[in-house]
Symmetry: C2
Subunit: 327 residues, 2 copies
Amino acid sequence: MVKLIVDMMGSDLGSAATKEGVRRFKANHPDCELVLVGKLDELADMEGYEKIEANDTVGMTAGAMEVLRKRDASMVKAVRAAADPEMHADGVISAGGTGAFLSAATLILKKINGVKRPALVTAFPKLTDEGGYVTILDCGSSNENTAEELQQFALMGSLYSKAVYGIENPRVGLVANGSEEGKGSPLGKEAYALLKEDKKINFIGNVEGNQVLTDYTDVVVCDGFTGNVLLKTTEGVAKGMGKEIKKAFTRNLASKIGYLFARKSFNVFIDKMNPKKTGGALLLGVNGVAVKAHGNSDGENFESALNVAYKLAVANIVAKMQEGFVE
Amino acid sequence: MVKLIVDMMGSDLGSAATKEGVRRFKANHPDCELVLVGKLDELADMEGYEKIEANDTVGMTAGAMEVLRKRDASMVKAVRAAADPEMHADGVISAGGTGAFLSAATLILKKINGVKRPALVTAFPKLTDEGGYVTILDCGSSNENTAEELQQFALMGSLYSKAVYGIENPRVGLVANGSEEGKGSPLGKEAYALLKEDKKINFIGNVEGNQVLTDYTDVVVCDGFTGNVLLKTTEGVAKGMGKEIKKAFTRNLASKIGYLFARKSFNVFIDKMNPKKTGGALLLGVNGVAVKAHGNSDGENFESALNVAYKLAVANIVAKMQEGFVE
């Protein structure tokens, strides 16, 4: 049975959002055990759940020092519970600040043996007829990496892509400013040389920004700074274009009539592009499932994050990472 | 009068595309003098233009060495003509390989006094009701930069934004993985400190990937590697979403009817997102207008590139750069 620890206080929208998310998730996964962490009075209406009291929160921009100091913060208590061997928990979910969550997960769950640096992973829908997801890492856990770290990201991403999406031999690409070998930042060139020789992964070479969503690769590897830019740019363009689509449908009477006819079909597409539907990001390389829901998660978004954590626990991702990093 | 030198051989689609572009441009700018560089037999039907014979081309992946070696290549001859004082030319346009064009422009037109490194500039439409363009640099002329180079990009971008878009005091942002000061790559943090103290520009701090198209800034500064990723990711997402829009409109009978009504309104938006409409990229920081049209330019795209070059020449961008870099 899967057991997940849930930080109920992290969302910008308050515990109403996380509670709705938990209820929605639980309706579809009655078998999954959830432990709720937060203010007990706010959680009074959540009956039948194990609860852990926590009366403090960490700030959205908090880092490692605040995580260590705020021992009564719901996020910190949630991660500690996930790390506690007596809890037998599979993972932890929080909508709190990314920096704090990464610090807490790394410091408390601890890195998997052999992993140099955990990586923040995001999965994007491929914009192709076949669909599927491309796994991108690191999306901003670090802001500077070594070539060896990038090499490890490739392995972590491959193990993840196989375990979660069932892709047998995931194609790994390295983000560069050109497709040919020899292109790339100085760091990228160094990483290219390591990836090319790595027998544990299926390296297919450089991948450019315009290829990320095209099913050219299954796993996209980059340093955390570049990954953060790539992720946020994609979200920004998708959001901006979403607004333009809305504008195009409301521009005049004809376009409004058009919308009535095309609405259902467009909702399929708009759903696909909604970054909140994918349930946030997760941290790979630590001893436990650690999913970071969007900070402004509503009930539906938080449910998605719980779904991701559940899926990772069922896929036994942590054990697979641990095995993958045994030399 | 504006005089532009045109490499007629660079487009992947051959001289038919560049010839169409020249004819379209000339119809709207009869006052602008164009000098066509290419195979004379291919240009035989272009009457009334000054021509320069060139019978070779450089490869799409060529670099500086090939540029120096291929003295009879149309791109090289075009750039040489633009640099020739006796030609009194204002600029040069080519749809040939980016690397070769950057090398040729830098080596032959030479850097403006005081400029450490020229920058490749792209302008993106802001996805806001007010419209306008955001100027992004460097988009891939370098793959590694110093903080001082980023500082210069900020000045070049500001001068450009003012001269071409008439923005009086352009807001400059630095690409980072977080909005607060202290975020960013090690290079970014160093550049932040320089930009903050620079009286010549209006620095407003960090800009994240999802803010680039939102009118948060007028000028977006980054190293060439990051800029290339940002540019190509934006193009890739826009293209992918364009395909999804098409799919959404053709999914079923209702959506097809919807398209008939909404088509005109959508074309406004699709036009805005077409990267080819903006006419390619340009190199700032050299002694001459240097515009790189898309490699697969058709007549319309090539016309856009000619329009950009014309606009830059009329705005006297080179003289303004030269003045801006006088200490």
